[in-house]
């Protein structure tokens, strides 16, 4: 299957599409952190339910589009296409045994379970399955293969390699179904983005992100359905998954425990910080980056520009450096990002800024620029993460403009405290 042929790019908006559905790249550090954040906020049971549903909705959009592009109409065509797509995305190799009324799925190497075991398995015993994304994918595949209504399949993982089981196993049964949700596609994404603006160091940022897009075009899952790149496990992933989990969690908290909203919002900022530290950091220290850009210079303006270029290269949207004064102030702007189209399409205009991921990411970019000695080749470990952000980081972030709130663009101001 040549899924690469279904990729397209709006370079001026840093919008990456697969069969017309937006996709981004995130690494296992962020993916695991993100999912843990949902569970921390909602508890394991509700967290797994929200994550599974979000994955189901995200993969319904993508699988529908891919089936259409490939003109896949028979059960076997769709079954093969679905499992190949999942493997290609670096989400893992899955065996799907799906009937119209029930199903099973198995995997030895799902991204989440494999990465969790790799990162934490020798230190922590886990008691809950971790692969809600795989479960949601299997549910979406069964719904679409048999033309079932949205939300009509219940998927549950009952064995998981993160729990030290030999393989992950999923049971799929019929449920009640639910309303169809709007698809966040190319048109919705373009409608929710502003005209691109040029920022500081624009030419260099543009050249680097272009090089990253070229590199990422060759990135795809191996025979086990995993992508090892930049010294992390990478996934081609769906913004709808991240967005639905974040905003369903925040809205739920707003309705039942408003006093906890600031804490939950801070958790999602933390996830953004983790993304920049682990993903952006690993990219900047990789041989691929050294070939593309050069070895780390340790110059703070470089780190700010490089972070902006990486965000674009990963499909996060058109980020730009509006202002930067070392050790004092950094103003990041986004004329497009992957959060806004979802929020506006699903919920309408927000009453406040809600771009938590990028709020955290902007603060982290400032911290990486000022508090990390890149030329000393730091170990990007969990301990170093805590040291950097708990001891060395003295920056606060405020989102001053938000396209979800109706502003033309989104703006994040990071200042020294």
């Amino acid at each position: 299957m040549a899924f690469t042929d279904h990729r397209s790019l709006h370079a001026d908006r840093a919008l990456t599409l697969l069969a017309g559905i937006p996709y981004v790249y995130h690494c296992h550090h962020y993916n695991l952190f993100h999912d843990q954040t949902i569970d921390d906020a909602l508890g394991e049971l509700d967290g797994a339910r929200v994550r599974t549903n979000a994955a189901r909705h995200a993969f319904r959009d993508l699988l529908s589009a891919v089936f259409k592009k490939e003109n896949a109409v028979t059960t076997s065509e769709r079954l093969t296409l679905a499992s190949e797509l999942f493997r290609w995305m670096g989400q893992g190799k899955m065996q799907l045994e799906l009937l119209s009324s029930s199903g099973r799925a198995r995997s030895l190497t799902p991204h989440y379970g494999y990465a969790w075991r790799e990162k934490y398995g020798s230190r922590i015993r886990r008691h809950d399955p971790v692969d809600a994304v795989a479960a949601g994918f299997a549910a979406a595949a069964m719904e679409l293969i048999y033309d079932l209504a949205p939300d009509s399949v219940v998927a549950k993982e009952h064995r998981c390699i993160a729990m030290r089981d030999p393989q992950c196993e999923f049971e799929l049964t019929l449920g009640r179904g639910g309303p169809a949700l709007g698809t966040i596609d190319e048109a919705a994404s373009l409608k929710a983005s502003a005209e691109p603006q040029a920022g500081i160091d624009e030419d260099r940022i543009k050249a680097i992100s272009s090089g990253l897009w070229d590199f990422m075009r060759a990135v795809q899952g191996d025979e086990r359905g995993l992508i090892a790149a930049f010294n992390v496990f990478v996934t081609t992933h769906l913004p709808t998954y991240y967005n639905e989990t974040i905003y369903e969690t925040v809205h739920h908290t707003e309705s039942v425990s408003p006093a906890l909203v600031p804490a939950v919002e801070e958790l999602f900022r933390e996830a953004g910080r983790a993304c920049v530290f682990f993903t952006f950091g690993n990219v900047m220290l990789s041989p691929e980056w050294e070939a593309l850009v050069g070895p780390p210079s340790g110059i703070s303006t470089d780190v700010i520009s490089f972070g902006t270029a990486i965000a674009r290269g990963l499909g996060f949207g058109h980020w730009l450096v509006h202002e930067y004064e070392p050790r004092k102030r950094f103003v990041l702007r986004c004329t497009s990002n992957y959060e806004v189209p979802f929020y506006l399409s699903r919920y309408g205009r927000s009453n406040k800024p809600r771009s938590y991921f990028i709020q955290g990411a902007a603060a982290a970019m400032m911290t990486l620029a000022e508090a990390v000695r890149w030329r000393e080749r730091p170990q990007l470990t969990g301990d170093f993460y805590l040291e950097v952000f708990r001891s060395r980081a003295n920056y606060r972030v405020e989102q001053t403009q938000c396209a979800m709130r109706g502003d033309a663009i989104s703006e994040y101001v990071v200042e020294a405290t």
Binding site: E118, K119, S122, G211, D214, F215, A218, D222, R224, L226, A228, F230, N231, V232, F233, G281, N282, L285, S286, P287, E288, E290, A291, L292, G294, P295, R377, P378, Q379, L380, T381
Partner: protein, 123 residues
């Protein structure tokens, strides 16, 4: 994370065996539990000659981005080099058990050192 005092540390071993054009093996700065290992080569190295020698030792050339060269083994281990800076990275395949990764990296390092020496006519 690093354990340079370990008696079997490849960095210590490397001091005894490597030619001047190859630095010792060290754990890479950004590894997933010992998957990536760093070696610094002389940027003046003849990388075409090195490629030929690696290909006689079980490696195959693989596609890479501009400015980087890559060789892979049948088991999926990789050596990548940035010729401009001489930075090389040995990548052990992620399916190798964690406790075996260091030793797999050492074996790949020995192959790399031998290839460099032959490529440079040092044997």
């Amino acid at each position: 994370m690093s354990d340079t005092s370990h008696p079997r540390d490849p960095a210590e071993q490397g001091k005894r065996v490597v030619p001047q054009r190859v630095a010792p093996l060290t754990r890479e700065v950004t590894c997933i539990r010992s998957l990536a290992w760093r070696v610094d080569l002389d940027p003046a190295q003849d990388f075409d000659a090195l490629s030929r020698e690696l290909c006689t030792r079980g490696f195959a050339t693989a596609a890479s981005i501009a400015g980087m060269r890559k060789w892979v083994t049948q088991e999926g281990h990789e050596i990548v080099v940035v010729p401009r800076t001489g930075r090389a990275q040995i990548r052990v395949h992620y399916t190798v058990a964690e406790e075996q990764r260091r030793f797999t990296a050492e074996r790949l390092y020995v192959v790399l050192v031998a290839a460099v020496m032959v490529a440079n006519g040092e044997t």
